[in-house]
Subunit: 92 residues, 2 copies
């Protein structure tokens, strides 16, 4: 599993290209290329923008690592639900 | 990256063996077998118990999927810091 966690981190780091946070554009690209099969509506720019607004706790128009990990948590929760387990019920 | 997220979810689901939450024992096994190279002190039962207490928001002595994802977030944050990026600074 350690490789899986590193993969998640490296996707963020390579998408930021050395900057601290993901810009709106980089976030769109990352979601479309990396989460297109697992999430719905990633082809819609406006849907991805809305998603980003929902994640952007500090409202700075960028996605920090913490905010990105919140997204990963949502996606994991939805994968868990799809597997038909009760674990993810009532997830945040 | 979708495979990586699924790996993280499946590790939890297989460790619970059909139950909703991880018992203290299952949590210890999972941490030792899956995160031993990436975290320190996983060989120490008391350290892993303390870690579990820290995660166990609702104090029920078990680890839910949400609580497990909190741990994954911590580990990811620490991997991110190790890569020498400023992203993880001040993480929650």
């Amino acid at each position: 599993m350690e490789g899986a966690i590193k993969t998640v981190v490296m996707q963020f780091l390579s998408a930021t290209r050395g900057k601290e946070n993901l810009s709106s554009k980089s976030f769109q690209k990352l979601v479309q290329s990396q989460l297109g099969n697992i999430m719905s509506d990633t082809d819609s720019s406006s849907a991805v923008k809305d998603m980003m607004k929902g994640l952007d706790d500090n409202q700075d128009g960028k996605v920090s690592f913490q905010e990105y990990m919140t997204l990963i948590g949502y996606v994991a929760n939805s994968v868990c639900e799809q597997k038909g387990q009760p674990n993810a019920a009532g997830g945040q």
